[in-house]
């Protein structure tokens, strides 16, 4: 195998010592009450985060996550050369307004719930290419802002099916750069848009599982590895339904995922928290990756982790017009470096 950054059409290898120098997470109260709650940097007591609209609350959360990430990286906004951020709202307003307050060069991203790893992969490649010294990447979602945009008003009494998902309220951010501390980013696999014809916007797990399977299989093939190369593989927000589908799909393709595979959307909430199939949204993968997985990679609980963030690229207009849901998944591989 050569050592060029381009491994294949989809997979990139980072040869510089690119690290996640610091990461931060802010969430709402329901997420804070979940099993990973104590690993979050900031948990707001109410979904409004003391603001007067949910949109402002979401911005505040992204701002808090960015602050925490910068603080842990022992850097200030002055040191950051580019910010890569995205969210679920029209014209990615959360990211744009957060960057307004930070006085940073911004590249706005939209990859729906796959934005977290899209941002991390691009951040690492910009550092690898020498265009930036330190890159800041982050994303956010809010249950109420997402519900209002994609579905119904939050207080509307419609009944949701048991396979629906719950948009995570929160934000995650990280600082990427060449350094000596923190987990190393080794590879990234960029996903292709996969559409298997699912049209039900409540059934995101079924829609997104094939996209995740495609990216994971491509990653294994390109690097000539098997699932046990990693001691943790997570998908962003497939929920219980998509989790089961992905596992069987990869099994039928010859990859046994079971012992190492988990889903961020299922890790955030307890079984009894009434979130149907599990969490979803940009924040799902970001919140878990930038708290629990970072901590695990620093403490030695995990040695090698593959995070595959999954996104459903539909809009309220597209599904009302009867279009199926195109999906995407981006994977980033990280490993612990012994000091």
């Amino acid at each position: 195998m050569n050592n060029l950054p381009r491994v294949s059409r989809q997979t990139w290898r980072f040869s510089k010592d690119i690290r996640i120098l610091g990461s931060g997470v802010a969430t709402g109260p329901l997420e804070g009450d979940g099993p990973l709650g104590k690993e979050f940097d900031c948990v707001f007591e109410d979904n409004y985060a003391s603001e007067d609209s949910w949109e402002k609350a979401e911005r505040k959360m992204l701002g808090k996550a960015v602050d925490a990430a910068l603080q842990k990286a022992r850097l200030t906004g002055e040191d950051i050369d580019v910010m890569l951020a995205g969210d679920l709202l029209n014209q990615i307003i959360t990211s744009n307004y957060t960057a307004r307050g930070l006085d940073l060069p911004l590249l706005g991203l939209f990859g729906a719930c796959s934005t977290s790893m899209e941002g991390l992969a691009i951040a690492a490649s910009l550092v690898e290419g020498g265009f930036v010294r330190y890159a800041l990447t982050g994303c956010s979602s809010h249950n109420s802002t997402a519900e209002r945009q994609f579905r119904y008003p939050t207080e509307y009494g419609g009944q949701k099916p048991p396979y629906a998902q719950w948009t995570v309220t929160g934000a995650g951010a990280s600082v990427v750069g060449v350094g000596t501390a923190g987990p190393r980013i080794t590879h990234a696999t960029i996903g292709k848009v996969t559409d298997m014809g699912i049209k039900d916007p409540f059934d995101m797990g079924t829609a997104m599982a094939p996209a995740a399977a495609d990216t994971i299989m491509k990653h294994f093939q390109d690097l000539n590895i098997t699932p046990d190369y990693y001691d943790l593989i997570v998908t962003g927000d497939l929920g219980k339904v998509g989790y089961a589908i992905l596992k069987d799909m990869l099994k039928d393709a010859g990859y046994e995922m079971s012992p190492h595979y988990r889903d961020c959307g299922m890790m955030i909430y307890r079984q009894d928290q009434d979130v149907f199939s599990g969490g979803s949204g940009c924040a799902s993968s970001a919140v878990v990756t930038y708290s629990h997985i970072m901590n695990g990679l620093c403490s030695g609980k995990y040695q090698r982790v593959l995070v595959v963030a999954t996104g459903a690229l539909f809009s309220p207009v597209s599904f009302q017009q009867g279009e199926s849901i195109p999906c995407i998944a981006h994977g980033v591989a990280m490993e612990r470096v012994l000091a």
């Binding site: 009494g157 048991p162 396979y163 079924t206 339904v241």
Partner: protein
């Protein structure tokens, strides 16, 4: 499977053609019978409450059976809007389904929830413009259906 869209290759168990059907087995089934029972019970309770309110207006405020309907509907709407504002009605709706969506309380909830949701966009374009976002369809097709039913009735009596 190098190169090509590996998940979408034809002939595989998970190919696009049969995917939606094949994936169906992974979805938890909607408990349809139990949901119907819940809808029947809660919907019935809301109607019984309405009947209670009607009887109350007849007994204490001198309404007749014919005109007690108006204050009864107003009272139910008021209660539904109050519960929507307190953030309770959506939980009732998740439990009761059609049982809380079909009565007048469900209509009130769809108007009030949209109004609350869009308050941050202002009183005119926010609340005013979006209040009937969900309920608008009910009004439009309710009026259209009523018109045609009335037309048919009128024609029926003209002919026979």
């Amino acid at each position: 499977m190098a190169g090509n869209q590996s998940m979408q290759k034809t002939g595989w168990k998970w190919s696009k053609e049969g995917y939606a059907k094949h994936a169906e087995q992974y979805k938890p089934k909607k408990p349809v019978a139990f949901n119907c029972l819940k809808a029947f019970t809660i919907g019935g309770l809301i109607c019984a409450l309405g009947q209670g309110i009607t009887n109350f207006y007849i007994a204490f405020f001198g309404f007749t059976e014919q005109n007690a309907g108006n204050p009864t509907v107003a009272t139910l709407i008021f209660l539904a809007v109050l519960l929507t504002g307190f953030g309770v009605y959506d939980n009732i709706g998740q439990f009761a389904g059609a049982g809380s969506a079909v009565p007048v309380t469900g209509f009130a909830n769809s108007v009030a929830s949209a109004a609350i949701e869009h308050r941050s966009e202002g009183w005119v374009l926010g609340v005013g413009g979006n209040m009937f976002k969900l309920a608008g369809a009910v009004i439009v097709y309710g009026v259209v259906a009523a018109f045609f039913v009335a037309l048919v009735k009128k024609l029926w009596f003209l002919i026979f």
